[in-house]
Amino acid sequence: MAAAALETATKELQQQIGLTTDGNQFLTFNLGEELYGVDILRVQEIKGYTAVTKIPNTPSHIKGVLNLRGTIVPIIELRTKFSMPTIDYTAFTVIIVVVVRDKVMGLVVDAVSDVLNIDKKDIQPPPQFGAKVDVSFLNGIGKSNDKLVALLDIDRLLLDDEMQNDAKAA
């Protein structure tokens, strides 16, 4: 009971100071000129890019694995995953470590941008391009000022991939 009351109070306070955690707060990052967003609650940490160990015989978007304080974390190159041309890594290249159903994974992105509050009313459903462009891993398109943020469904993005591979491996 007390916990529930506390939660409500916290929420009210957060709303007053313009901070909401209703799942519409996003960490945004760049891939080239495009802006993407992931639910901030799914982000465990952001770390600078360090060399990874390549896993033999895996799809090319799986860059390799990294030692994250003793756990082995797979790193996914988002550009390759989206079939975008790869670029040289810079000082801004970072790994966003996310949690997908108990699994910890890293996403290599060009640079992190901002933490944005996007109201539910400013989120529109993902666009339809037909078979030409696969956007099934998008949750929606967010508008913030005049920026467009493609909101990622990381469960879909990462796990579908996993499942596929699992099925093949099995």
Binding site: T53, I55, P56, N57, T58, N67, I72, K103, D166, A169
Partner: protein
């Protein structure tokens, strides 16, 4: 129940399980050496410990049953009775029963009372049959009670009225009685106390009914009443038999074990029969007869034609299943008993570690470059400490596999009696250590395999003699380390798998086509299919077609494999191969291009630098290397893992000769970097299994290195990459 109490209980259950294991093991050994008094004494001590501890916790059903076992054991120990096969058998059955009883208290499930009663009676009659000592008024009572054996007395005491006038305190008497043993119930009878107006405060109107559990004899008890004896009404009688009868009557009404003393204390009504007997209205014998006529619900229903016997049977089966289901769930609590010496050593090591650490930080605080040798020395010391601690911590979880093997002598003994076969069990490699969780999980699969060997594998004695084999069939259980794995083999010298039968069955079940040409290696694994059994008749031991699929599933769940080797007429060998997950392995770090891989040291036979002309090809591609006269297939690791090597010329590279499942291959790498212990990290935790890689580890520079799975590497080399890069 308070946590603390629960904790003590937990300890009791653990200890009881250990004692039971000792008893069982001892009894099995006793069958072979019936005259071994030392062994008997050991069994007796364990049984006694269970009795004592269960009594302390008030698990009366357990206490009483163990007491009966103990009585018989005592007779054997004193040489008043010889160990004979029926007695050993009875004791073994009783051990099982005791196990069930303890399990029942632990999980709170009901026990098949009938079995308990029957065994209790058998035990009693076994001990009573040769009772050389004073005839007891109840035949069931233990006949030879040595001084330390507890007996139950019912004491009715009405002190004289003058008790208080002489300055005597009845409480003192009761206290003294309590000192003799355990007063399990004290009932005060105040029925003679008159109305307040009529009370003479100097007179005693009270009387007591006490139950005393003591090892002392009647005289000693009477001595407690020394000063108040005169004019007292005192009846002391042995009540052991009575309580047995009472248990019988209880079981007639419900199937749960209840603690009858507690009932009395709680004020809960005693069973009718018990009260009738106690008050002397009926004799125990009459009661027993009456109870024997009492029927179980199922029987009554069948008689009334409400249900069919089959339905009852089914319901009973279901009940049993549910019971066993609860039991397995309850026994899953994980704890481990560790030798205190191991812990002490560990504490010492941690102490050393702390000292080394403080020495290092001291050095770091005011470090000058000329102290470098000191620094290096201390770092080396730190490494020694760490390694030793690591080893010992891992060692805590490691248990010899003998603990999993220990159940088999009994199993095989029972199976051989049941199947009328002569079976000899040979155990080896019991000292092979592996992780506790693995040991616990392989118990069931192993049991299935042993049962299978005994039931299907081995022939009956006549058939064996006809086939020029020894009458006694042999089942061999062996465990050993191989290439970073634990191998456990279950081997029998029986008839071997029948290829024709399996094929026929598989065709019938539509698993294979009638005209399929299959190799033996493709045929044998068919027996792991669910519902696949070629046994002509289903016995209660095996043949229902469940089992082998379970074996396979369980072993695979542990990341292991099962393989079969069989020779018709000669026997079958099942090999379980289990990985040493959780473990730390010794590995050789090798380099291929820029990548570092770890090869389990146990799978490396040797490493060589090939000379010109030792490498030949077959059909232009398949490479073979001549190693001292034997040609081994050569695998270029960079080919398999799609890496950029430093050398593509084998003459410049290094070849590791690896062994996996009896097969040898040469694997080409650029360089050997060194040997080190590596901690296996799971790849599956955040990713998935990768072919050719057994796991990952963190290398000295903090990056990730992969541990090679030799078998997997071979598979990829043979069948191509599973996932295109």
């Amino acid at each position: 129940m308070s946590d603390e109490f629960a904790q003590f209980q937990e300890a009791f259950f653990e200890e009881a399980a250990e004692h039971l294991a000792i008893v069982e093991e001892g009894l099995l050994a006793l069958e072979q050496q019936p005259k071994d008094l030392e062994l008997l004494a050991k069994i007796f001590r364990s049984a006694h410990s269970i009795k004592g501890a269960s009594g302390m916790f008030g698990f009366n059903a357990v206490t009483q049953f163990t007491h009966k076992m103990e009585t018989l054991l005592d007779l054997l120990r004193n040489g008043e009775k010889a160990v004979s096969p029926p007695i050993a058998d009875l004791l073994l059955k009783s051990t099982d029963c005791l196990k069930t009883l303890i399990e029942a208290v632990k999980s709170g499930v009901a026990v098949d009372d009938e079995v308990v009663q029957r065994l209790a009676a058998e035990l009693a009659s076994a001990s009573g049959a040769q009772a050389p000592v004073v005839p007891q008024k109840q035949a069931v009572a233990a006949p030879t009670q040595s001084e330390h054996q507890a007996r139950r007395y019912l004491i009715k005491w009405t002190p004289p009225e003058w008790l208080f006038q002489r300055g005597l305190d009845p409480l003192q008497v009761i206290k003294e009685l309590n000192g003799l043993g355990e007063l399990s119930s004290v009932t005060l009878d105040m029925s003679r106390v008159p109305d307040l107006a009529e009370i003479d405060p100097e007179k005693c109107y009270l009387s007591w009914e006490l139950q005393l559990l003591t090892g002392k004899d009647l005289k000693t008890i009477e001595a407690a009443f020394e000063f108040v004896r005169e004019d007292s009404k005192l009846v002391i009688e042995e009540r052991e038999a009575l309580s047995v009868k009472r248990e019988t009557s209880e079981s007639g009404h419900d199937t749960r074990f209840t603690n009858d003393d507690q009932r009395a204390e709680d004020g809960a009504p005693k069973p009718l029969g018990a009260i009738l007997v106690e008050s002397g209205v009926v004799s125990p014998a009459v009661l027993e007869q009456a109870l024997s006529q009492q029927k179980r619900v199922g029987e009554i229903l069948v008689e009334q034609k409400v249900v069919t016997p089959q339905q009852v049977e089914q319901a009973l089966q279901k009940q049993k299943q549910q019971e066993s289901a609860t039991q397995t769930k309850k026994t899953d609590t994980a704890s481990i008993r560790v030798d205190t010496a191991k812990i002490d050593k560990l504490i010492n090591l941690v102490g050393e570690l702390v000292i080394t650490q403080s020495m290092l930080s001291d050095l770091g605080a005011r470090f000058e470059i000329k102290q470098l040798p000191v620094l290096l020395e201390r770092v080396a010391q730190l490494e020694r400490n760490t390694r030793e601690i690591q080893e010992r911590v891992m060692g805590i979880r490691m248990l010899p596999i003998g603990t999993a093997f220990s159940r088999f002598p009994r199993l095989v003994r029972d199976l051989s009696t049941k199947a009328g076969k002569k079976i000899q069990l040979v155990l080896s490699g019991e000292e092979t250590e592996l992780d506790k969780t693995v040991i616990e999980s392989i118990g069931d699969p192993l049991t299935h395999l042993v049962r299978n060997s005994a039931d299907h594998g081995l022939e009956p004695p006549e058939e064996r003699l006809d086939n020029n084999k020894s009458e006694v069939g042999t089942i061999r259980l062996n465990a050993f380390h191989e290439g970073g794995n634990i191998c456990i083999t279950v081997e029998d010298d029986g008839r071997g798998l029948n290829r024709d039968k399996i094929v026929a069955k598989a065709v019938k079940q539509g698993l294979i086509g009638e005209n399929d040409k299959l190799s033996d290696d493709q045929i044998w694994p068919l027996i792991f299919r669910p519902g696949f059994s070629t046994a002509e008749k289903v016995t209660d031991v095996s043949g229902r077609g469940v089992g082998m699929d379970v074996v396979k599933r369980n072993i695979e769940a542990l990341g292991g494999t099962v393989s079969i080797k069989t020779v018709t007429g000669k026997g079958t060998t099942f090999t379980l191969k289990l990985p040493l997950t959780l473990a730390i392995i010794e590995g050789m770090t090798v380099r291929v291009g820029k990548e570092t891989y770890i090869v389990p040291l146990l799978s490396i036979l040797e490493s060589i630098q090939p000379k010109d002309g030792t490498i030949k090809t077959v059909v232009g591609k398949g490479e073979l290397i001549n190693v001292r006269g034997t040609y081994l297939p050569m695998i270029r690791m960079y080919d398999v893992f799609v890496l950029e090597p430093e050398y593509t010329n084998p003459m410049k590279a290094i070849l590791l000769i690896l062994e996996t499942e009896g097969e040898r291959v040469a694997v080409m790498v650029d360089e050997i970097l060194g040997q080190q212990q590596v901690v296996i990290k799971s790849m599956e935790q955040n990713f998935r299994k990768v072919e050719g890689i057994a796991g990952a580890t963190i290398l000295g520079d903090g990056t990730v290195g992969f541990i090679l799975d030799v078998r997997g590497l071979l598979e990829i080399a043979r069948h191509g990459t599973p996932i295109a890069a």
